[in-house]
Amino acid sequence: MNSVVSAPVSVALPQAEEIVRLTDVKRRFGTTPALDGVSLTVRKGEIVGIIGRSGAGKSTLIRCLNGLEQADSGEIHIEGRNITGLSEKELQPLRRRIGMIFQHFNLLSAKTVEENVALPLKIEGLSKAERLKRAAELLDLVGLSDKAKAYPSSLSGGQKQRVGIARALAARPALLLSDEATSALDPETTRSILVLLKDINRKLGLTILLITHEMEVVRSVADRVAVIDAGRIVEEGQVWSVFADPQAPITQSLLSGIRPQLPDTIAARLSPVSGAEQILSIDMAGPAAQGTLFADLSQALPQSFRLVHGGIDHIQDQPVARFFIAVPTRDAALPEQVQNFLEARGARVEVLGYDTNHA
């Protein structure tokens, strides 16, 4: 796009340098623990999403990473350096290595767009000419070159966040922290901001740690996800694998809006003991989800099932499938045969109950 963009950097090699390492970080406000022993590692070039409900501690967590909030105990390493217990003055040079974007953009209303973008460089002590040159490069990167002299109040939400991103990148940080950066934006603008973040991650090799309460955000940009609940990380892994097989109840609940769910009308009349049809959920991920599973099933066991709901999603280029099927129970052996067939093909099968209504 322009000169800001250096050679492409390969994304998130397993052995890549650690940018962030948290070890048993605790923080409490009064008697309520906001962080209750969080350990997490973020490697160079990765995009890691931290998801949780409001009040789960994710804001405190991200603010601990640049020292806006101090941890009570535990260790926080940024680029190998322990930042726990550093004074405000000692933190200041370290913060220049970390960019941050915010839910409400936090642009200075009294400064123009380019002055906002150039502010981190002013703090760094660059000359005005250098600052404006770099600001122009960054505004080009985020596609807002024509707004350099405008004031933030004249911009739309998406444009404001683009300025926020340009400003966060101005001092060439090693890490970008995103604090609910898309939560105040409409879905379409959210997508465009996420595309920009992904783009920057690929082009600049920038490590990004983002917190959000929206699974959709994690789904579309993150490589890895950590689920936080009541100040603890309850689940962590590659995004596609967590989506394919969520373990913690909180993860399942956060995913409920984005994964196929058994339709309410069927769920309402489900009986745990008996009915005309047995309802199964089928989860698959990776190569297993790409095969000709249903075609094979209907060939092996004709008339053995009815598709109720579901689909295949592609996350990080991995197919993640979730289906609901109904298996007639007039032949008592059939449900077990179907289950065995599916499990042999690498699917995770769960019996949800029996549909009492369907003939």
């Binding site: 806006l68 913060r95 981190p120 933030p152």
Partner: protein
Amino acid sequence: MTPIMLELLFRSLWETILMTGASGIISLVAGLPLGLALVATSRGGIAEKPWLNSVLGAIVNGFRSVPFIILLVALIPLTRLIVGTALGTWAAIVPLAIAATPYYARIAEVSLREVDRGLIDAVRAMGGNRWTIIREVLVPEALPGIIAGFTVTLVTLVGASAMAGAIGAGGLGDLAIRYGYQRFETTVMIAVVIVLIILVCGIQWLGDRLVARLDHK
């Protein structure tokens, strides 16, 4: 109105402008840092020091609770020390400035307190220190309010300067009392009131225009 009266009116206007302007500028220069200190040292401020905040708050409240006419007399020794005399226009500037500084500090404090905490966080996250926060965030973001508050202070000073006649400072208020009220010269009274209205409207108009130009919210 006689030419002499007209000349008296103009001289009084000048005295009022001088008293208001000089004490206004002093209250701006001293009151803004005081307002900043009140905000910075408060709970959750950028230089949190509750005891200092309490002390500053008590001093400000102390000065603000003394009626101006009392302050005018009570400060005579100090005025004499600074100006060399306790009488006249210049002597009035000392008590006016001392009364206006805590008044303006409180007004500035309100504007500074309204600056979004998120903006301070953003500049802290960039690696900015306290001075950067004051220079790049607090003052510029609160500037429309700081100017609007200064306008209010100036108008209040125009009123307060009338009392300064008690120490022979002259000014429009003094003219109105001595000629208009005590000598029953209604024309002078009306003329003074009209000039005061024009003066106050002018200050307000200038202040409003400046605020409109600076406000990008």
